[in-house]
Symmetry: C2
Subunit: 561 residues, 2 copies
């Protein structure tokens, strides 16, 4: 890039502003113009649910730097040397003449801006399904600062809200509105929240948490229409009935904004987002694309995906700037990593679910373990469930799901680093992770998961997860479902259909069990269940598998006294 080349960036949120700032850092003599249709640049959309929840009072906080400086046009001009034109809409790209036609939305004047390199950071827009009632006042998406303000102010004047969609935003807004005192229903078309991100079993732990916090969870219910009374939203209709609603937040997903790109003849990918090469260059060598308008590739499956995220947008911005400034850099791809807080449960995932792995040609083997997140006698120790997936042949870790009230985000990031570098379960089991009672146990939950999976891969121990067990129950299979916890634990809470023989007396009472039936022991977590399986095998029982995850990992109904 010549020092006075002009770079035009369309879109001034995460990817656009990052690209612009990085270009100026690499080349203080460059000329960078950012075009933003709205009046707000560089806002942190991910924080909007937390604004609604009341975690901070000044909405402008989502536009501030960590030290409180407002990231407005002036800031970018003075501190970064970037020219930002807000309320300026890019109308058309003339890729032959290398110029962008723009309209100033304040005075409606049109003009043309020439570019040497162009960056598309046009972002996403919320999907609003074409059903009756979507246009009603009181029906909101959540994308902009204005949306957040509208949702918050409406929520102060009503009691019943319906959220459509059990993805990240739907879950976060559900929590926010419950926190603000509303009765909240969450309607999801699929039979689980976080579809494609978590297994049904892991998602069920989230379902339990939603219900525990009073959310009326309506699964497997497609939205039919939003109903009004006197011009105001009053209910949401699904095939199963009507749910009262004074306000509706539609969070069924987002689409990439690609109209400009399409009009300019740029290639779109199979997901509908802008197709880019490894360097984030579009089909036009002078046009790059970054952030939520771009199609991603999965690091493991090589599948094309559309996963808009602020973290990816920031990485994209840096890569695009580097490439424009002559420092060739590739964006390696994503692992579809995700983390979410849902009331007192945290959920996270990375890599591939077992079915996704299968579809991508892997031979997945998975294990579910439950473990305390730190030394159990340290205050605030909480359990987490980990479902770890490896490829049978290579023994490489290819996916993880972690759900629980404990520290899931640490473990998922550790797995992300491992998977990105091709770690095997054997290597994961030996990681010299940081140990002290306030932070972890001597065997970190990741070690326990890796070792459990090694045992399974090596044929040392057979096991099945609660979903597989549930199928056996529903099929009416004849087996002994053996609870080996203490009588006191059994008294408190139990899985229907289980027989109690505490582990401590199992050796002496082993004759009570039939040798011709499958025996499936379990406990609270899964350690004693595993020990019980060993004792039974030692006693000559051949048909024994323990149930992974234990009572804590059981996502279905429990009996209590």
């Amino acid at each position: 890039m010549g020092s006075r080349n002009q770079i035009v960036v369309i879109g001034g949120v995460a990817a656009g502003m990052k690209t612009a700032s990085r270009i100026m850092r690499l080349n203080p003599f460059a000329k960078v113009i950012v075009l933003e249709k709205t009046k707000d640049v560089s806002y942190g959309a991910c924080s909007l649910p937390y604004y609604i929840e009341g975690h901070f009072d000044d909405l402008e906080e989502v536009r501030r730097t960590p030290v409180g400086v407002l990231r407005d046009e002036k800031f970018f001009a003075n501190c970064k040397g970037v020219e930002v034109r807000t309320l300026t809409e890019a109308l058309e790209i003339d890729s032959k003449q290398k110029k962008v036609k723009v309209r100033n939305l304040e005075n409606d004047q049109e003009s043309e801006i020439p570019y040497d390199k162009l960056v598309l950071a046009t972002g996403n827009h919320p999907i609003l399904p074409p059903i009756p009632g979507m246009e009603l006042p009181g029906v909101y998406p959540l994308k902009t600062m204005a949306d957040a303000e509208n949702i918050l102010s409406r929520s102060k004047n009503c009691k019943k809200a319906v959220i459509i969609g059990g993805g990240l935003i739907g879950l976060e807004v559900a929590e926010a509105l419950v926190h603000n005192g509303l009765q909240v229903s969450l309607i999801e078309m699929k039979n689980q929240v976080l579809n494609n991100a978590l297994d049904f079993g892991m998602a069920s732990l989230v379902h339990r948490e939603l219900k525990k916090n009073g959310v009326n969870l309506c699964l497997s219910q497609p939205l039919e229409r939003i109903e009004a009374r006197n011009g105001k939203v009053c209910a949401v209709k699904t095939p199963e009935g009507v749910v009262d609603a004074e306000m509706v937040v539609v969070a069924i997903g987002v689409k990439p904004v690609v109209a400009l790109a399409q009009k300019a003849g740029l290639k779109l990918g199979e997901t509908g987002a802008i197709a880019v090469d490894d360097h984030l260059c579009t089909s036009d060598p002078d046009i790059y694309a970054a952030g939520d308008c771009v199609e991603s590739q999965h690091l493991l499956s090589k599948e094309k995906l559309y996963v808009p995220l602020g973290s990816t947008a920031n990485k994209h911005g840096r890569v695009v700037a580097n490439n424009i400034c002559g420092r060739a850099e590739k964006f390696p791809g994503i692992l579809s990593t995700l983390v979410v807080k849902v009331f007192n449960q945290n959920g996270a995932r990375t890599g591939l679910l077992p079915e996704q792995a299968q579809a991508a040609g892997f031979d997945p083997v998975s294990v579910l373990i439950a473990s305390p997140d730190k030394v159990h006698n340290y205050p605030d120790c909480k359990p987490i469930d980990i479902k770890l997936v490896a490829d049978k042949k290579s023994r490489k870790v290819i996916g993880a799901q972690i759900v629980g009230p404990g520290d899931v985000s640490k473990r998922i990031d550790t797995v992300v680093a491992g998977i990105s570098m091709g770690i095997t379960v054997d290597q994961m089991a030996q990681l010299d992770l940081a140990y002290a009672p306030p932070f972890s146990a001597a065997m970190d939950p990741l070690h326990i998961a890796a070792n459990a999976l090694r045992n399974k891969l090596d044929g040392i121990m057979e096991s099945l997860d609660p979903q597989e067990l549930r199928v056996k129950q529903l099929n009416g299979d004849d087996f002994v479902f053996l609870d080996v916890r203490s009588p006191k634990e059994y008294e408190e809470v139990r899985i229907p259909g289980a027989t109690l023989i505490p582990l401590g007396v199992l050796r002496s009472r082993v004759n009570e069990l039939p040798k011709d039936k499958e025996i499936i022991p379990f406990c609270k977590l899964s350690l004693r269940g595993y020990e019980a399986a060993l004792i039974l095998k030692g006693a000559g029982f051949e048909n024994v598998r323990y149930m992974e995850g234990g009572v804590l990992g059981w996502p279905y109904e429990l009996e209590t006294s």
Copy 2:
């Protein structure tokens, strides 16, 4: 291993019990005997400081499983099929006849136990330096449950405690005793706590926290003697004076227990711990060693180290058991990973310090950054400082130190996974880490650190850390130390000797600065300092480096209003 082979394990804490249990899991028909000199097996020594601090009331908790089952002899017999003989001292190993001579400490009877394979898990003992007064009542090590009980009960009857040694245990006990209302002095021979684990600059952040919490921190002071009045401890004497003490906790380190091994002619390593091969086999092919009595090897430097830790002990136990049971497995080595909570600061490290890297033949380049641990407007967001070290040629990450009130343990574990797999700074910058406001920022602190280090490696930006800056100050170098924060921030707290020009007006006031002197801008974290350096370079200043870490990373004195 034949199914009825007899395995004898000497030592029944972490490594010993893990070995025994895993052997029984792999071979339910094996015969495993554990010999333990004391009456307690399988206790979690790392929790003892937290018992003293009052985080749990029942000391037996350190011997319980996460679900509350006491791990005593009966538990191991009934649940694991392991025979544990407590109060049984191993006196001698006859490696030719393959038997161990033991003494029953209850009836003083001696006997011999034959073995097919022997496992030494003899652990460590605290170093008590041979100085006057070590034998006084009121002077304690902290290794056993009894020690913890003694320290706690003594602390209830006195007001002034001295801790000798600024390592993990010293720091944890200092916090515990301050929490219990005592006036605590910490005496450390070196000029910093956590010597060899943290740089002086990073350790200084811990020093500040200790002082802030009222700990009388006495650095660079070797212990001369412990003084008594009327047979009771009354003071600790160092070359610099006398520190009052009604009780003294000696935590200067531990040594491996190797007497038995030595007597049996087993090879010791250069650190004095038992030398083992990759399979944790000693110089006798029928004798393995595991846990705190064993010498480790550093994964990166290949240096031999003695780093006793419960986490390593557990991994060792599994590896030894696997090898004994015919499942060959290597223990790969350690990264000297460490994490510690010191009041409201957390400190962690892994890999090599720059000096250690240099000594091991690397060409280390490091960077210090300060960053919020999550989105800054999310409640409970706290800063962390990361010092990341890479090798210049390979660009591989070879070390990290992380200190701050925020979530350091997540980042250190992520780095551990990365370093173990040979990650480069470039790969680290692209990790698809989990992002949501309650857990991290769109650019995780690790991304920021990796990118800052890439800039440095690529010559895009020059910088120096506070320690290097301090040397310049002390040398009387002539340079402009430029604070680019806001006037309000400057008013609150500032680094002595700095000049204020806020970033937002720097472009317009750039003529106030001399072009013939080095200019070193900084801010609160380091982002604006970095931007300022770019602006200055853009304005034709050639001799510019920013100071890493900013005010938050400055470990020396600060001025406040």
